[in-house]
């Protein structure tokens, strides 16, 4: 389904405007570049031997004092910025994707349970969701990573940072999936085919997974696109605040954090290029997500 939704041919067939196709392609190119980072990056930023402190803070190649070896300049440790960004984008996308996957799995499961069984199960799950939604994502995520920091000792925090981040983001995002899936499940549960399945005595697990789930999946895919953009932003924000990915294994947010310390000395590129990459990535995903949402939301379509 994912490959189908992300191929441009599919988008033209369902009438996507050229800007949406361009955005989808752009997002694909960025994702592809980051996946292939170890092959296409000019240097390996994870290899300590490959960079030299003597090359630190070199401006981009297109400026007057630039060095042609480093297209976008180097950071404070002499790392090639472009390579660091490619690897960083990979970390950002992996964490964002992981968070969306976890949130979707959790949210769809709980939404199915709530919608199918109703009553107390429903009330419990939905009230927990209400409480969670009444706090902003960033606050909850900060709390989770703060607690994780206190529970794990120093070195382990850095090692477990991606997992902590994924959990910290997903703890807020699952509610949206659960609400959507619950509503859709309630509609489906009242339909004849589900009643028939109940009558033949199929176990609830089978009915939920094999009969209802396929029919409630399309809004989940739409939410996931928009949530991916949001998750990448949340990860970047946490890393920028210093509670996300460590500088030894930076995401785009960590790179911006490092760069921010040099902004006042006129060294703008360390912060600006990763920031630009982040904004372009998120914007591209958002353009596609926004369009998908309008396309699959019949209420909005009538209004337009």
């Amino acid at each position: 389904m994912k490959t189908l939704a992300s191929s441009p041919g599919f988008l033209t067939r369902i009438g996507a405007p050229i800007s949406v196709i361009a955005a989808a392609l752009l997002a694909l190119v960025i994702v592809a570049c980051s996946i292939l980072a170890s092959w296409i990056a000019p240097y390996d930023p994870t290899n300590l031997a490959s960079f030299d402190l003597m090359n630190a803070e070199l401006p981009p190649a297109f400026t007057a004092e630039g060095d042609s070896r480093f297209i976008l300049g180097t950071d404070n440790q002499g790392r090639d910025l472009l390579s660091a960004m490619l690897y960083g984008a990979r970390v950002s996308i992996a964490i964002g994707g992981g968070a969306v996957l976890l949130a979707a799995t959790l949210g769809v499961t709980l939404g199915l349970l709530a919608g199918y069984f109703g009553g107390r199960v429903d009330a419990l799950i939905m009230r927990i969701g209400d409480v969670i939604l009444s706090f902003p994502t960033i606050l909850l995520a900060l709390l989770v990573s703060g607690i994780a920091r206190a529970v794990f000792p120093g070195a382990a925090t850095a090692e477990w940072a991606p997992v902590i981040l994924i959990c910290a983001i997903a703890i807020h995002e699952w509610v949206q999936y659960a609400r959507t899936v619950r509503a859709a499940t309630m509609v489906e549960t009242a339909k004849d085919y589900v009643r028939a399945a109940k009558v033949i005595g199929l176990p609830p697990r089978r009915i939920m997974l094999r009969h209802i789930l396929p029919n409630v999946m399309s809004p989940v895919l739409v939410i996931s696109t928009i949530n991916l953009a949001a998750a990448v932003l949340t990860e970047a924000t946490l890393s920028f605040l210093g509670v996300g990915m460590p500088p030894t294994y930076p995401s785009l947010g960590t790179l911006i954090r490092i760069g921010n310390e040099f902004v006042f000395s006129g060294i703008w590129w360390i912060a600006l290029f990763p920031a630009l990459a982040l904004v372009i990535l998120v914007l591209a995903v958002n353009v596609v997500g926004d369009w998908l949402r309008d396309r699959f939301n019949p209420k909005l379509r009538v209004k337009r």
């Binding site: 902003p136 703060g146 924000t237 902004v263 998120v282 914007l283 958002n286 353009v287 209004k303």
Partner: protein, 323 residues
């Protein structure tokens, strides 16, 4: 009516109980308070004595009860890092954050409403399309990037505005304000704009959607048929009704804005509650974290409850439905 009121208050109390329980668990189980508070080479007996004097040997329920009691009296413990009462720290930082949030809210309303109206009145015009496209860029740009870019342009390159701190503040009783001095106002500008931009997109999109809704309603069509002037129809009749939900959402958003100010305050080294909290997170200063959670939780619950109750007062339909 009384029933609605009671059920809403009950719900609010329940949420606060949950939040306080989370905050208590953090306080009690994340890290060992005895280890943090005792001397480096304290003996086992000394530690046991400290444990007893802190009441940590009591049953859990008793400990939680005491925690609630202390919290209600406004005693939230002592910061591990600053060695000062947490309540004092928060009270000191509160004015800075509230002033920032106030300025950001005013800015975002002042810009968001006209832009939203523009987009609703001429949805296919060039200006509206441009604003719509920019708003998508707006949502995709994280707050800290906006802040860094503003600092780069206005503080580093042009040198017009200060990039960190509150400037000169004047104390009015316990409230320190930066709104009365020139340097205080100048310092407020960049962080205020940064925080406002986060809110702006939301307000703009909401005004646009509400305006489009209202403009297609019968009474507007009737007003048009009567030949009333366009300006009167748009601003007197339509905008007024479209603004109702905008006011509600802006009110509800104040809580998130306070939480989101964490990022803005970090970028601009603004000495508010957010900066206090983020420092607490990186230093694992549990009492400050727990207190901030309690405080923001209380704020959220208060705002939500007041809005819900007001709704029930204003709109009889809601009263009937929930009763």
């Amino acid at each position: 009516m009384l029933k609605v009121l009671l059920s809403r208050l009950g719900q609010a109390a329940l949420v606060m109980l949950v939040v306080s329980a989370v905050s208590f668990v953090m306080f009690r189980y994340v890290g060992d308070p005895v280890a943090t508070m005792s001397r480096e080479n304290a003996s086992v007996e000394e530690k046991a004595e400290l444990r007893r004097s802190l009441g940590l040997d009591q049953p859990l329920i008793v400990q939680y009860g005491r925690f609630l009691g202390r919290t209600l009296r406004g005693d939230l413990g002592i910061s591990y890092r600053n060695q000062r009462p947490v309540t004092e720290l928060i009270a000191e930082r509160l004015p800075a954050t509230l002033e920032l949030v106030l300025v950001a809210t005013i800015l975002s309303l002042a810009l968001g409403i006209p832009l939203g109206v523009l987009c609703a009145l001429k949805p296919d015009g060039a200006a509206a399309r441009l604003v719509q496209a920019l708003s998508l860029v707006g949502i995709s740009t994280p707050t800290f990037v906006t802040g860094i870019v503003l600092i780069l342009v206005f503080a580093v390159s042009l040198g017009w505005l200060p990039s960190f701190g509150r400037g000169q503040v004047i104390d009015l009783g316990w409230w320190s304000t930066g709104l009365l001095t020139a340097s205080g106002l100048k310092s407020l500008l960049l962080p205020g704009i940064t925080l406002a931009l986060y809110q702006l997109t939301l307000i703009m999109r909401l005004v646009r959607a509400e305006m489009i809704d209202v403009l297609s309603s019968d009474y507007i069509r009737f007003a048009k048929a009567r030949g009333l002037p366009k300006r009167y129809i748009h601003f007197r009749l339509a905008l007024r009704n479209a603004l109702m939900p905008v006011i509600t959402v802006t009110g509800l958003q104040i809580g998130s804005l306070i939480a989101f100010a964490i990022v803005t305050e970090t970028v601009f080294q603004w000495p508010g509650m957010g900066l206090l909290f983020i420092q607490a997170v990186s230093f694992v200063d549990i009492p400050v974290m727990a207190a901030y959670l309690l405080f923001v939780g209380l704020l959220f619950v208060l705002i939500n409850t007041v809005v819900d109750i007001l709704y029930a007062v204003v709109d009889p339909r809601l009263r009937a439905r929930s009763a």
